[in-house]
C-alpha cells in the first residue's frame, strides 16, 4: 500500500468502516456519505464481501445495502485520496452520521 508520496498522481488509501447507525446506510446517512464522497476528485469505492460500489453514486450505494453492523472497505485513489478517506472515516466513526450532525441539520 502506498503512503504519503506527494509526487504520485494516483495515491491510494484504504480503510475499514463499520456502520453503527441503527438504520444502516439508509436514506440520510447514504446521502451524507455520497455527498461527502462527491467533494473529492479521487475515485472512491466501497465494498462488502460480495459487491463493490462507486461511493459517489447513490444508486450503487443503495444497491450495496449496508445494514447495521456491516463492515465496509473504502478505497480511494487519486490526488486527494488521503483526505477523502479521513473525511469519510470521520463521518462514519466519529460523527456517527445524523447523531453528531443532528443539530447542524436543524439549522439548515
Amino acid at each position: 500500500m502506498l503512503a504519503g508520496d506527494e509526487t504520485l498522481e494516483d495515491e491510494m488509501y484504504e480503510t475499514e468502516i463499520e456502520i453503527k447507525s441503527s438504520d444502516g446506510l439508509h436514506m440520510r446517512p447514504a446521502m451524507q456519505f455520497v455527498d461527502l464522497a462527491n467533494q473529492f476528485d479521487s475515485e472512491i469505492t466501497v465494498s462488502n464481501q460480495q459487491d463493490t460500489a462507486d461511493a459517489k453514486s447513490i444508486m450503487q450505494m443503495t444497491v450495496l445495502a449496508a445494514t447495521y453492523g456491516s463492515k465496509l472497505k473504502v478505497v480511494a485513489k487519486g490526488r486527494d485520496a488521503k483526505q477523502a478517506i479521513e473525511a469519510l472515516k470521520e463521518l462514519v466513526d466519529t460523527k456517527l452520521f445524523g447523531n453528531a450532525a443532528a443539530g447542524q441539520d436543524e439549522k439548515e
Binding site: 436514506m27 444508486m59 444497491v63
Partner: protein, 579 residues
C-alpha cells in the same frame, strides 16, 4: 415492409415520416434508432436529467414549508439519483451500445434497477423501488414533453403514431404538418378519429401493436380509405400508393367544385349543411368547405390542456371568434360535455366504475353550478354577435331540462341586473342522445326550440355497446333497427311540435346514410367540415322520392345486416360516382 390492418376512421391517403409518441403510463417498447442518431438521444437523456432536477428543485422550494423531514428526505434522495453520474452513464451506454431511443433506455434501465431493489431482502432497499419508478416517470415526462413540443413546432410533414391520442396532445397539433394519424387503440368514434376527421387528415386506429413496429423516422403510409397502415413500404408499394393518392385528390377536387352551390336535391328540396367543430379556427374550414353554419360547437377544449378553469372572457373570446365567421348564420354552442372519456387536467372528476353512466355532461354541470353559470353567461353575452343557439347535452328527463333552463334564467336575470345585453329570444335546444330522451320526445319538444340527434351516444346507449372497445365495436351500428326506430320517433315528435331538428352524429357524414336520413324527414345535417362537399354532392344527385322509398323500406327491416347491405346497394345504384 410491414402491413397492419386497423379501422379506417378518416378518409384519404398520406405518406410521410413517422413521429412516434410513447405514453408515460404504458410500457415503453424497445425501439431502434439509426446509429447516427445516438448522439441526439444521449443528449436528450442528459437534458431530461437536468430538466427533471430543475423541476424537482422547484417542487422542493414550494414544499420547503413542509415540516415532515421524511418527505424532504425523499426529494433529496431523488435529487441525488438525478445527479448520479453512474446512473446517467448506465443509461447512455444502453443507447450507445444498442442504438435504441432515449425513452426505452431510461425506462428499461430504471426498471432493471427497481426490480433488483425489489429482490433485496431489506425493506429499506425494496421501498426504494418506488423512488426509482418515480424517477422514471419524471424522466419520461421530460422526454415525452419534449416530444410534445416537437409536435407543436414541426418543421416537416409527419404521420403521428401513438398508442392512443389524448385531447391534450391533439389540441397542440401543428395542423399544417400533421398529415396522418395511426394509433394502437381506439374505435371509429375515438378522440383521434374525431380530430383527424375535423382536420381532414387520414387516420387508422385499432392497429394493436403498431407502436412496437414503427421507429421514429420510418416512412409510413396511412390508408384511411381501407384501414391499412404500411411501415417502410417497398418501392413498388410506394409507387402504387403515390398514384392512388393522386387519384383520390382529384376526386376531392371534384367535390370542392360544388362548394359554392346550394345543397338541394334534384326536385328542389333544400337541405342545410352545418359543421361540427371543436376549435374556433375550424369555423373557417366550415365556411371554406361550403357549410351554412355551425351545428355543433363542442366546448370541452376550453377546459382541456390547462390547469385552471377558463374564465368567462376566455369562453367569450372563443365564441366571438367563431360567431364572427358566420354572423347571421346559426352557431349552435353545446354546453360543456365533460366526464366519461373527456377529463379536465385538474381531475375534478373522481374515478367512477362506469363513467359513461356516471357523472358526466349536463349532470356534471348541474352539480357544478358556478362553472356552468360562467359558460352560460359568456354564451349569452356572445349571443349579441350573431345567431347563437344554446344546446344542452345528454338530457335524459324533463326534470333535467327544467333545471338547466332555470339556471339559464338565473343567469339572464343576473345579466339584466348588470344591464348587460344578450338576445332574449335565443333558441334553446337539447341533444337527443339517450333512449329516454328519444322516447320522451313529445314531452321534451314542448320546452325547447330544437332537437339535435347525437347518433353516436344514442347508438351506444341503445345497444349497450362501448364504441371505443375493439372487442365489441362491431356490434356498434347507427343503422341498427332499434336506433332507427328511436330516431323516427324523435323526428316525428319534432315535426308535430314544429320545432327544428338536426342530426349531428357520425351518421350525418356517412355517404351511404344520407338518402335514409332525407327519407326520414331530416333537413338539417351537422357534420365534420371536410365531409361537407362530398355530402353536398350526394344531396345534389338524389331525388327526394327515392329517399322516401329507401327510408320506408329500411324502417320495415328488422336486422342490422339487412339494413346495411341494402344501404350499400342502393347508394351504389343511385349515386355510383361517389362510391
Amino acid at each position: 415492409m410491414d402491413v397492419k390492418k386497423g379501422i379506417a376512421v378518416s378518409p384519404g391517403i398520406s405518406i410521410a415520416k413517422s413521429l412516434v409518441i410513447d405514453a408515460e403510463d404504458y410500457r415503453i417498447p424497445r425501439r431502434s434508432i439509426h446509429p447516427s442518431k445516438r448522439m441526439i438521444e444521449v443528449q436528450r437523456v442528459k437534458n431530461s436529467f437536468k430538466e427533471a432536477a430543475r423541476e424537482l428543485s422547484n417542487v422542493a422550494v414550494k414544499q420547503s414549508q413542509i415540516k415532515q423531514q421524511e418527505i424532504k428526505d425523499i426529494f433529496a434522495v431523488h435529487m441525488r439519483f438525478l445527479k448520479d453520474k453512474t446512473l446517467l452513464k448506465k443509461i447512455t451506454d444502453v443507447i450507445s451500445h444498442e442504438a435504441v431511443t432515449a425513452e426505452y433506455a431510461v425506462s428499461s434501465t430504471l426498471r432493471d434497477i427497481a426490480s433488483h431493489f425489489l429482490k433485496v431482502n431489506d425493506p429499506y432497499i425494496s421501498e426504494r423501488a418506488a423512488d426509482i419508478y418515480d424517477i422514471e416517470r419524471r424522466l419520461l415526462r421530460q422526454l415525452l414533453g419534449s416530444k410534445q413540443e416537437d409536435i407543436e413546432h414541426l418543421t416537416e410533414e409527419v404521420v403521428i403514431v401513438a398508442r392512443e391520442l389524448s385531447p391534450t396532445q391533439t389540441a397542440g397539433f401543428n395542423k399544417s404538418f400533421v398529415k396522418g394519424i395511426a394509433s394502437d387503440a381506439g374505435g371509429r368514434t375515438s378522440h383521434a378519429a374525431i380530430v383527424a376527421r375535423s382536420l381532414g387528415i387520414p387516420a387508422v386506429v385499432a392497429l394493436e401493436d403498431l407502436t412496437e413496429i414503427v421507429s421514429g423516422g420510418d416512412t409510413v403510409i396511412v390508408d384511411g380509405n381501407r384501414g391499412i397502415v404500411i411501415v417502410n413500404p417497398d418501392d413498388e408499394t410506394l409507387k402504387r400508393y403515390e398514384q392512388y393518392s393522386e387519384g383520390f385528390t382529384l376526386l376531392e377536387h371534384k367535390f370542392t367544385a360544388v362548394k359554392e352551390k346550394p345543397a338541394i336535391t334534384r326536385d328542389g328540396t333544400r337541405v342545410m349543411l352545418l359543421g361540427n367543430i371543436e376549435f374556433p379556427e375550424e369555423a373557417e374550414v366550415v365556411l371554406e368547405k361550403g357549410g351554412d353554419g355551425i351545428g355543433l360547437y363542442r366546448t370541452e377544449f376550453l377546459y382541456l390542456n390547462r390547469e385552471t378553469e377558463p374564465s368567462e372572457q376566455e369562453h367569450y373570446n372563443a365564441y366571438a371568434q367563431t360567431i364572427k365567421v358566420f354572423q347571421h348564420r346559426p352557431v349552435i354552442i353545446r354546453t360543456v360535455d365533460l366526464g366519461a372519456d373527456k377529463y379536465t387536467q385538474s381531475k375534478r372528476f373522481a374515478r367512477e366504475p362506469n363513467p359513461f353512466l356516471g357523472l358526466r355532461s349536463i349532470r356534471f354541470c348541474l352539480q357544478n353550478l358556478e362553472m356552468f353559470k360562467t359558460q352560460l353567461r359568456s354564451i349569452l353575452r356572445a349571443s349579441e354577435l350573431g345567431e347563437v343557439k344554446i344546446m344542452f347535452p345528454l338530457i335524459t328527463s324533463i326534470h333535467e331540462l327544467m333545471q338547466a333552463k332555470m339556471i339559464l334564467r338565473d343567469v339572464m336575470e343576473d345579466l339584466d341586473e348588470e344591464s348587460i345585453n344578450y338576445k332574449r329570444d335565443l333558441h334553446i335546444g337539447i341533444m337527443i342522445e339517450t333512449p329516454s330522451a328519444a322516447l320522451m320526445g313529445a314531452t321534451l319538444a314542448r320546452d325547447v326550440d330544437f332537437f339535435s340527434i347525437g347518433t353516436n351516444d344514442l347508438t351506444q346507449y341503445t345497444l349497450a355497446v362501448d364504441r371505443g372497445n375493439e372487442l365489441v365495436s362491431t356490434l356498434y351500428s347507427a343503422v341498427d333497427p332499434a336506433v332507427l326506430r328511436l330516431m323516427r320517433n324523435i323526428i316525428q315528435e319534432a315535426h308535430k311540435a314544429r320545432i327544428d331538428l338536426s342530426v349531428c352524429g357520425e351518421i350525418a357524414s356517412d355517404p351511404e346514410c344520407i338518402m335514409l336520413l332525407l327519407g326520414m324527414g331530416v333537413r338539417v345535417l351537422s357534420l365534420a367540415p371536410p365531409m361537407i362537399p362530398e355530402i353536398k354532392q350526394i344531396i345534389r344527385t338524389v331525388h327526394i322520392n327515392d329517399c322516401n322509398d329507401i327510408a320506408r323500406t329500411i324502417l320495415s327491416m328488422n336486422s342490422e345486416r339487412q339494413i346495411s347491405n341494402f344501404l350499400r346497394d342502393s347508394a351504389r345504384m343511385i349515386i355510383p360516382e361517389a362510391f
